[in-house]
Symmetry: D2
Subunit: 478 residues, 4 copies
């Protein structure tokens, strides 16, 4: 048996390639939309990807299951649990097997036993894997968004992201029940989860790729808690706002995403067409670093730096139905497209190279900039009533402590609430360490606010400078 681990650090998402060397057959578990890495692994090993499965209908990324069914001819092994809202709608076009609790299937000599483990979602399943060629007991369990290293999946995504009322508590109670079952597994089993640290699918995931049943029983907070009521309360508390695009992902993954291999790439456009796009009010996203954008950018563009949070904020801030344009470095283009496709943002209509900014200026157009202000400068402005601070962090971060004079608008809602901000004053955007607030500053500037600053170092530096915060709680870093 061969096991290969794939991890997309941008989505904090794990997938697994399991192959049987005796039959040259392989399966991919929870594939990401870009299936090239799995195809390459298969080709390198001389294996055929004959099957693919997913633990649940993902909300945080576009699944690659359909892509593998289409491109590699893989059979789909998918959950048959949950009510009508949770049924895959695209499976009839492909070979597929629907799975209930206890169902088993084999890929070569590797056996998979299905466990129905609802909680994160109603149809969620996990897989016990046994290498029948060399063992008669399982080696580990693929837990998807059920059990993570140090945490469990959040049950409230549905209620919050998809606006389905009263499902969070039900999910939490199902999770409690599912965990009882997990406790019965032998200590020596490996635990292969669907996410690592940084995913929005849990609140406290570890930065270790895998664990064991025994270790989780000892040190996972959720398994330590054996009282249902307090477990439910703890699980629902302090979960961050789910990104707005999660609702779209559920829908896309249920209905079947577009086949990536058939999409066109965005066109490269010369700088002189920027004017036309901005005049049409098309979103133009500048993907350079926040510091480069702050120093000079084309008026009307917004800044989503191409870092680990890029896909997340693109999902929050762009409309899935409106063609948008990118300003991007040639070297980063493929990766930017990959990241956008990973959450289904397939409607990028064209891109400009970052050199377009200099060309724009050479052609006599004006550039904009905004200031990064230090904590002392910001404190001074606020003291004299010359500026308003907008805190764009999550609700839970705000609750843990904030600048007394600040107003809270979580970054994902800033564009739509911008109209409520004072126009005659400087606005200082603030977050934890200055990353998200840079995106916020670009949004407000594009909305026409004449004086926008970004608070360098965010509330972290504010507090380090001894300036007052509503609550003495120690602050986390971004």
């Amino acid at each position: 048996m061969l096991l290969r681990f794939f991890y997309d650090p941008k989505l904090a998402q794990a997938s697994y390639f399991v192959g049987c060397q005796q039959t040259s057959e392989a399966i991919v578990i929870d594939p990401a939309r870009d299936v090239e890495p799995y195809l390459a692994a298969a080709e390198a090993e001389g294996m055929r990807i004959v099957a693919t499965t997913e633990t649940h209908i993902h909300a945080d990324f576009v699944s690659g299951s359909r892509e593998l069914a289409e491109r590699a001819g893989a059979t789909l092994y998918l959950s048959d649990n949950g009510d009508a809202d949770w049924k895959y709608q695209f499976v009839d076009a492909y070979n597929h097997v629907l799975l209930k609790d206890g169902d088993t299937f084999k890929v070569g000599n590797v056996k998979f036993e299905t466990l129905h483990t609802p909680g994160h979602t109603p149809e969620h399943i996990s897989f016990l894997m046994t290498d029948t060629a060399g063992a008669d007991r399982p080696m580990g369990v693929f837990t998807g968004d059920f059990v993570f290293v140090g945490d469990v999946g959040r049950p409230d995504l549905l209620e919050k992201a998809a606006k389905i009322a009263n499902t969070a508590e039900t999910g939490a109670r199902q999770m409690f029940t599912s965990l009882q079952r997990f406790r019965e597994l032998p200590d020596f089993l490996q635990v292969w989860p669907g996410h690592g640290a940084g995913s929005a699918c849990g609140k406290d995931l570890g930065a270790v790729p895998s664990s064991t049943v025994g270790y989780e029983k000892l040190f996972n907070w959720a398994l330590a808690n054996t009282d249902e009521e307090s477990f439910v309360r703890d699980l629902l508390a302090g979960q961050p706002e789910p990104p707005r695009y999660f609702a779209m992902m559920k829908k896309v993954n249920k209905e079947g995403p577009a086949v990536l291999g058939r999409l066109t790439l965005p066109e490269h456009l010369p700088f002189n067409r920027l004017e036309e796009m901005l005049a049409k009010d098309r979103p133009v996203v500048d993907t350079r670093t926040a510091s480069a954008f702050a120093a000079s950018h084309i008026p009307g563009t917004i800044n989503i730096p191409h870092d680990y949070s890029f896909a997340n904020w693109a999902g929050w801030l762009l409309d899935y139905d409106v063609p948008f344009y990118l300003i991007v470095d040639q070297h980063a283009l493929a990766e930017v497209n990959h990241d956008l496709a990973s959450i289904g943002l397939d409607n990028s209509a064209g891109y400009f190279e970052t050199s377009a900014i200099e060309a724009w200026a050479s052609a006599g157009h004006e550039l904009s900039c905004y200031n990064n202000v230090s904590t002392s400068e910001a404190a001074e402005l606020v003291k004299h009533g010359e500026a308003t601070i907008i805190d764009v962090r999550n609700q839970s971060e705000w609750d843990e402590g904030h600048i007394p004079e600040a107003r809270h608008i979580m970054l994902g809602y800033l564009a739509e609430q911008a109209a409520t901000l004072p126009t005659g004053q400087t606005i200082i955007v603030q977050c934890q360490t200055g990353g998200r607030s840079a995106v916020g500053a670009s949004i407000l500037q594009a909305k026409g606010f004449p004086s926008v600053h970004n608070l360098m170092g965010g509330i972290r530096d504010w507090q380090l400078a001894g300036l007052p915060v509503t609550d003495g709680k120690p602050l986390k870093t971004d």
Copy 2:
């Protein structure tokens, strides 16, 4: 003024970027379909491409004029000469200016004067360029396929490739007249032609990128000949077979090619889908080197090595209406696609990586190979009546001298004439030095011939070995 020279060695095709630094405006002359290099040059110089022109309706590559009109918003400057068959049909969707002899236009301070120079084609025009910012006389002339370095454009493409009867001689006489006009230009003018050595648009082009009017008057054979009848005879003699795709190119360039930026890329497919494609009789083109293909390949695939002749033979051998598949090294994929697009072969439906061949074998499928035979082995086989030699060179090469026992089928016609070959015998494919015959060997093997050899070193080595050739003429190299 700024002048940049672009050259595609695969098509032996030259294009020119001319910009005015004072107004930041630029024009591209005879753009190739892939306009990225021009966009990049413009961006680097902070210039807008406001215009594009072509000297004639190209037969050997897809023009990038429409792409620039669409992507950069450039105005089209196109010939208005020739009869109804030679009118551009897509121009109404764009800003355009149709040009007659003597028409002038300016791009910034750079002036272009149109010369109607028929011969290669009836609507062909050339441009005298004057940098009005610093000079009151022209600096040079863009001659397209009118005058090359050491040669002139061939007038017989239309008759041969597009099967329009009796046009070759008419074109030759027009060329004679056009050349009289060229003679009147001052010696110091630079000559910037549309092709370099290796193009099928002329028969004896030099490998020097540009020339001068004075030098061509002294050393170009066509300008040396002042007798119309002997000029016409010489010009029409010995022109090679025009590639079959030339007829398609004329049509595409007249009607307006598809916009490249909107095409999908071919899908990467896993090796296990090769079987399905071959079973459907889809052409599968292996782009590896001839020696790698000879040593082992997947039965049923044909070999067009991705070298300088790739686009040419793809244009000869593939059908524009049938989806085809590629076997290609990951590193070469972008360039292979570029080369195919350059001649409008947009219907590649998918590709397999070269590692698919090993995976195919690992999965238990058989591989094929064919033998490279030396001249002495080949001579032995022919002597004993055990093999037939097929010479796949051009008619003119065959006429200059060939192996007495050989039969002539030009490579571009080999597939359709394969049925006329003896099946009970070994077939030895032969060309000048062994390159084209390798393609031919792969075609015959894919057609099911059981014993196919490739003559290593071709007729060149045959002759070097002292073996008989019908005619003592010195042989050229490939």
Copy 3:
């Protein structure tokens, strides 16, 4: 805590990056010589690599410990066990800590406890790792070449590769004792070994990256065996020949390898200098695929295809004291150099691009080729006494079954025993499936043997064709 897994598939070698997020400090365990991936991981996480350790003095690759001490300023944590032969000799130039059984140290909040686990080598240590920020018991154990997934380290390398008599059995007994200790660890601990499937440091490693103590106790053959004598016998049986370069690696890693960042790259040389290098009898290694080499290559060059076994065979076949030259594809150059450096082959003096082969032929030089023969052709030649078969596999593979008429010379010894082969006859080189025999064919051809064939498909296809093999044992695949 953060744990990142690094794996070099060419060496089947695993290394681990462990960081403490609270102090931004990190350690690398068993680093490979190319430390770029660790530096990149550290930079991405904003961590400093303050420490590096290794489980033992590696024999199969150049360690990156010194490189990290030099480049990143990391403290060296190294074993202080074993006798004088096993003491690191370069540590005084750096911050270092020498470790005995039971010693603990911390990197941020991550605690490492040293276990002395001799067997593979006398000084071998393992590390129990505890994330003290969240747990009071260990999460797992870094076992190096002590316990693998499904196997244990081989104790005979020293005796075989370094020619130190009578150490294999001693090592095997130490291993037995060390395993008793492993048995006492709790089942839930993760096991992070130093190698995966394919390493020459064990004989039966699994293709799963990590395991657990409980699973290994159940299914690892070595832990299942509780009788010392039979364990020792089993452990020593059937271990493959250790590559010749292993002895050199032990020495290099003990004395301290050259700092990679200070080495020059090989020079790119034009094809016309090949003649000079071959005339000087400098080894010229053609790194193309076996099939491309078979079809045509420059006489006198040998073929080590740049695949997963490249470093291994380069280590076997090249002399560490003789400058050698490469023929390599431009795309592969960086990786080829990386692979050579990974085993300390720093003396590549120059390289030629693969296009040099065509240029060589264009310049009128002759190329060589050898034939790939099918099993039936080979059987025919042997039957008529026209050919000798040389089996170049390992002793253990030979012992399991071979072609009756074959003679055994393991590939690593072929060059030096070539003089014992008959010169008047065709030689057919054979291995398991045709990979190693291709290398062997190139060696014999370079040695001047006039007629060399490679047996396609090796003994696997021979047996599949129903041809006789000395012993009915089922054959493994390469």
Copy 4:
């Protein structure tokens, strides 16, 4: 005959590859130090580079002649004119031919006739090239730094850069004489110069790659002037300051540069070693864009953006004897090294990736920034006596017009004259459009000036805003 044009836009430097297809021999004229492009061209054509020549001892870049003699075994054809100061000192180690006026040599069938054309330098030669296979008169002339398109070489480099008194006027008079000879050449000859627009080797070079003798006679100012005295006056007037590194280049090219293929690359260092390097006062050059640097950078580093002027300013600002460090994007590393090597800056001891800046901040270190101020802000500060403006342009630019209150220190001298600047005031650095002043701002900040601004848009925007300039002359753009 085959002619290929190579152009390094960073150095505005042209070189030429000329090959004879009949003998497969080639020569490179005025090769740049990085000879890879010539080797690749030769390999693609199956040609051997048997010769290399240079028109003179270059001052603006390291010549590749020695590299080609060493790597390809090329014969050196070098000038034997000029006094003892102008003799090549490394030629005895290689095959070489020293050339006097009138000497001819052949490469295959291509003939080169030497013309001694002093002026730019005393030993300067040009070459008339004749393709004897097809013509009995020359095709063109390689003029090096003698005649450019629209200009001639400057004769004052020696006096200014190498501090050799009284040579400029002598050179100007020699140039006048040499030009008489040029006038006698036939109009139809092509002119292939050694530089294009942007080189510091002439003052008004065109942006067209080549010209003709006839066109230059008509429109080159230097050929239009037939009065020696006024010619000398005009030629010496308004030449810009030659970069400081020119003196070093003359020396290096005369003595023989180090062979590039044998140099080590700079080491990649982790961010935590920045502190150590800065503490040792080692120059650390941040190669990011000026806007990114302005917004945030590591204190003590200086900014030389990696654009077309990078090598020039690196040559001005770095000391050839002091190891320096780079901060560079991984994608740009190879090109940055190439650019540094092109002017002999071989002593880069290590590099940090741009991500080191974020890691530096994450680790709790402070970052610096400086402000870009608008013309109105700057004018306000100057009006109130709160700031001093430093104009860092060339003397000739300053002479054409400057801000009345500004003080002139050319950028190349800013570091050494920084001590003369007022420390109690804000310093605003200014140039033509804001590019060079950004480098200057970084230098002053690294020198410890507490308040440094960069004037956005430079004097161009200042003047566009209607603010006073000493002199009404129209300003040029950067």
